[in-house]
């Protein structure tokens, strides 16, 4: 007999995980709203508007990191184009926000300012329905999902993988960036969308709206964590991990990797799209530079810093890197690229399992001390398929053995 869904869902996470999630929800849904809205500004516990927006932004990044981890950590597919899906979600919702400006733009016209500027007389066809909130939300999920599905179908069908896949995704986002930079594309060119005024008729700058958006970002993060956790502990997740570790063997057993990879890939893109839709109203701008290859590759670094193949690692990594970034780019902007660059190198060289791996090693070391030292490198390939993927740490190592001549 099959275990009921709710039971499986609850069992997918250890008790500690649920408790941590509940604590997080408490802080995000009660603590911060109260601290921001109810406490006066002079109060030492008051959370400023800047902080709420910053934290909301980072929550969106965390969702992206989770999406990235699902496809990279659990399916072994490194995407260097997730920024595209994120930005597409943002643009889809940004279209709605632009329409909500109404006649309050600087030209006072029905059309968005940039279209007046380009002397367009009516909305292009793909803007149809953009004044509907529901359609915007649908588009924010469907547009990245559809592109990911089509692209993924062709890529996975011909078994493009490894660095090939990574670079092609990078080229994809690069091409999209060029496309969106053009004024004729109809998405505001260089400047993108900005100067938003309202969502559903309510002011976008009010503290209540800000808090609501923040709480929604937290909700999305919690939901994606639970969903991700459920997926990777399910049968589906195990097959996916097996594909990651030894694709040929899984095929010989009789699975078609295409469906597994494609599902996870599309889901990951849709999550990114949702995160982008929540990100844009909180940051107040979306422009093509979000699609630059550098942004996408940074997403991979968040996950690498936190630890691939552990959802909590992705969340931690996104948090750590982004908090560091918002501090460092203000305090010493000259040296941030150095820091980021060395972070890329150091994490791949010395912390292949990220912060979470380090934490585990330290804990295991304390328990087993003074027994033999833990091996410095990651566990042997294949060992991850029959344990919980929480321990899955070495997506590339299985391929590594045969990598020598394989192109």
């Amino acid at each position: 007999m099959r275990t009921p869904f709710t039971v499986r869902l609850i069992q997918s996470m250890p008790r500690g995980g649920w408790i941590a999630l509940a604590l997080f929800a408490l802080v995000a849904w009660v603590g911060i709203p109260v601290a921001h809205l109810a406490l006066p500004e002079s109060h030492p516990l008051h959370v400023s508007a800047y902080t709420v927006s910053l934290l909301g932004k980072i929550l969106c990044y965390m969702v992206v990191a989770v999406a990235m981890d699902l496809i990279w950590g659990y399916a072994g597919i490194l995407s260097l184009g997730h920024g595209l899906f994120f930005a597409l979600g943002g643009y889809a919702f940004g279209m709605y926000l632009m329409r909500q400006i109404g006649r309050d733009g600087s030209y006072g016209a029905d059309l968005p300012d940039f279209m007046v500027f380009l002397d367009w007389k009516e909305l292009p066809w793909y803007w149809a329905g953009s004044d509907s909130f529901a359609w915007a939300l649908f588009l924010a999920v469907a547009a990245p999902g559809l592109i990911a599905f089509v692209f993924g179908y062709f890529a996975f069908r011909s078994r493009i993988k490894g660095v090939y896949f990574s670079i092609i995704t990078q080229a994809l986002t690069y091409a999209a960036m060029l496309l969106f930079f053009r004024n004729e594309t109809g998405f505001g060119g260089n400047n993108g969308f900005t100067d938003f005024k309202r969502i559903l008729g309510h002011s976008i700058t009010s503290p209540e709206m800000r808090t609501l958006l923040f709480a929604l970002s937290a909700l999305l993060l919690i939901a994606s964590l639970v969903l991700g956790r459920y997926l990777v502990t399910s049968r589906f997740g195990r097959v996916l991990a097996a594909i990651r570790d030894a694709e040929s063997r899984v095929m010989f057993i009789g699975y078609n990797p295409l469906h597994y990879k494609l599902f996870m890939w599309t889901l990951s893109a849709m999550l990114c799209g949702l995160a982008g839709a929540l990100y844009v109203p909180q940051v107040g701008i979306i422009n093509p530079s979000e699609m630059s290859p550098a942004n996408s590759i940074e997403i991979a670094v968040w996950v690498a810093v936190g630890g691939r193949g552990t959802l909590v690692g992705a969340v931690l990594g996104a948090g750590i890197v982004n908090l560091l970034k918002s501090w460092a780019t203000v305090s010493f902007p000259e040296y941030w690229p150095f820091f980021l660059g060395f972070l890329f190198i150091a994490v791949t060289l010395y912390l292949p399992d990220g912060v979470v791996g380090l934490w585990r090693k330290l804990r295991a070391g304390r328990k087993a001390a003074p027994a033999a030292e833990q091996p410095l490198r990651t566990p042997p390939p294949g060992s991850t398929t029959d344990t919980l993927p929480e321990g899955a740490t070495a997506p590339q190592h299985a391929a590594a053995a045969t990598k020598g001549a394989a192109a």
Partner: protein, 539 residues
């Protein structure tokens, strides 16, 4: 009516006089008839000035110069030049027995000044420097009239420079197409078919326009001649443009090739994408800049040859950086291709920022040596620049060098062996670790040479390499890993195809189309154009 008639008559006389001057050999003195106009009003003076300009010669020049300085005057029937106290006859240049005080100096107003500048232009059209002649021709063609035709013909007969000839031809055509005589117009319309200038084509097309019911050109024969000429021009321009497109495709292809060759080697050997490859291009370009600075400071006489001296410098600078990268970072990441992707991206961030801090965030200026500037003009607007021609040659040279290294040396053999089957190569005694380092050094050095080439046609700045990594990887993918021939075909093919697409759909759409094409191509042939033959464990 009366004065206007007079003026017209005067013009005619002057014109004939000018013609007489042109026809005969250079004379010691000016025809007095040329100067007669200076006795009349401003209009007749202007005509006289024009006639002098057309006549040309030192005497005319002298008279015009005197007029410009306010030293030309009339006394009775004579035209005189006042030079301090001395007074000379304008026509002959000989001293005249007239007191300076008796000479009535000619005042110069704006209209006269304009005529003077046109006359100067006419004078310099015949014997000025190239730039002067070009400026003069352009100046004159703005207000060309039939009076100028003989001058144009004379200038055209002596003119060697294509740009000046083009301007003159067009100016003449403009005058002739507007002539009253249909035979003359027909002749002009036919003759213009020889041109390959879009401006001439526009001129002919204007004849075919219908203004209400009336044609701009009433004569049917002239119209059909104009149509034929337009077709001829179109054909010639289209051919020239196709040649130009193929050329710029080749040029882009050779740049891609230089950028991708190094990547093909390192990727073939180590199976990792070096995301910092673009920064190795940047290092090569900055090394070139450094050599240029040194030459400016210490060997200014040899400045034209700094590019040649920079070849080894760029190679070794980039190779050095490459070896450092391989030894310090990549060595530890073998067999983890995706992670080395991230690590090399980190390296590229560090290199870019380091260059920003050391040299500065602005683009640095690199000058083409004089022997690389200019170009061959195929038709108006289609120029094959020398620097691009040199770069195509340079790419061939580098390719030949690599081919020799890979095919004829022991190191090349080792590199090929490791590319084909690393464990087996190791088993038979190839020092794979050393081969890795050397292969990386060669690949990086070639990237440095690519940077040198780029520095001659593109901006050199810290982030210049970023735009090339995706393109070069596409070349490697398309060509097949570890295949020099594949890289060559892929680079040239991509270059030419994207240039043709650019002409048809614009640069951005072309880029996207090329990308889509590559994705579709990999569907069909995952191994690239030239698949490496051998046994593979997992593919």
């Amino acid at each position: 009516m009366e004065p206007a008639m007079n003026r017209l008559l005067l013009r005619l006389v002057l014109f004939c006089a000018a013609l007489a001057c042109l026809a005969g050999p250079a004379r010691a003195a000016l025809d007095p008839a040329l100067l007669a106009g200076f006795h009349g009003d401003f209009s007749s003076r202007v005509s006289a000035i024009e006639a002098l300009g057309v006549a040309g010669g030192d005497d005319a020049r002298r008279v015009l110069a005197a007029l410009e300085e306010g030293n030309l005057g009339v006394a009775g029937e004579r035209v005189l030049i006042v030079d301090g106290d001395a007074v000379r006859d304008a026509a002959t240049g000989e001293a005249a027995d007239v007191a300076a005080a008796d000479v009535d100096l000619i005042t110069v107003n704006n209209r006269v000044r304009r005529a003077l500048s046109a006359a100067h232009a006419a004078l310099s059209l015949l014997d000025g420097e190239r730039g002067e002649r070009l400026a003069a021709a352009q100046n004159l063609s703005e207000n060309a009239s039939e009076t100028l035709l003989p001058l144009f013909e004379r200038a055209l007969a002596a003119e060697k420079d294509d740009a000046v000839r083009g301007v003159l031809t067009r100016a003449m055509a403009k005058v002739n197409l507007g002539a009253a005589n249909p035979a003359k117009r027909l002749q002009a319309a036919e003759a213009l078919g020889e041109s390959s200038d879009p401006a001439v084509k526009n001129m002919l097309a204007a004849l075919l326009q219908k203004n209400g019911d009336a044609w701009a050109e009433p004569d049917v024969a002239v119209r059909s001649a104009a149509e034929a000429s337009i077709a001829a021009i179109d054909r010639r321009v289209a051919t020239a443009q196709h040649v130009g497109t193929v050329f710029s495709g080749l040029s882009l292809g050779s740049i891609l090739l230089l950028a991708a060759l190094g990547l093909a080697i390192t990727y073939g050997v180590m199976g990792i994408i070096n995301m910092a490859h673009g920064e190795l291009l940047m290092v090569g370009a900055y090394a070139t800049f450094m050599v240029q600075t040194l030459f400016r400071g210490y060997l200014p006489g040899w400045l034209d040859w700094y590019v040649v001296a920079a070849i080894p410098v760029a190679f070794f600078a980039a190779a050095l950086v490459g070896v450092a990268m391989e030894r310090l970072v990549l060595r530890h990441l073998y067999g983890r291709p995706l992670e080395s992707l991230l690590a090399t991206w980190g390296l590229s961030l560090v290199l870019i920022q380091a260059m920003r801090v050391i040299v500065g965030p602005q683009n640095v200026e690199l000058a083409n040596p004089s022997w690389m500037s200019g170009g061959i003009e195929l038709a108006a607007g289609v120029v094959l620049p020398w620097n691009r021609i040199v770069i195509i040659g340079f790419a061939v040279f580098v390719l030949a060098l690599i081919w020799l290294t890979m095919q004829k040396t022991r190191l090349g053999m080792f590199v090929r062996a490791v590319t084909q089957n690393r464990p087996m190569a190791g088993c038979v005694g190839v020092p794979t670790a050393r081969v890795d380092t050397l292969a990386f050094a060669i690949g990086a050095g070639i990237a440095g040479l690519g940077g040198l080439a780029l520095s001659q046609i593109a901006n050199v700045g810290p982030a210049m390499g970023q735009g090339y990594i995706v393109d070069s990887f596409m070349v490697v993918v398309l060509g097949g890993v570890g295949q020099l021939a594949g890289a060559v075909w892929a680079a040239l093919g991509l270059g030419i195809v994207s240039k043709f697409l650019e002409g048809w759909a614009g640069a951005v759409i072309a880029k996207i189309l090329v990308l889509v094409f590559i994705i579709v191509f990999i569907q069909k042939r995952p191994q690239g154009i030239f698949a490496l033959k051998g046994r593979f464990a997992d593919s």
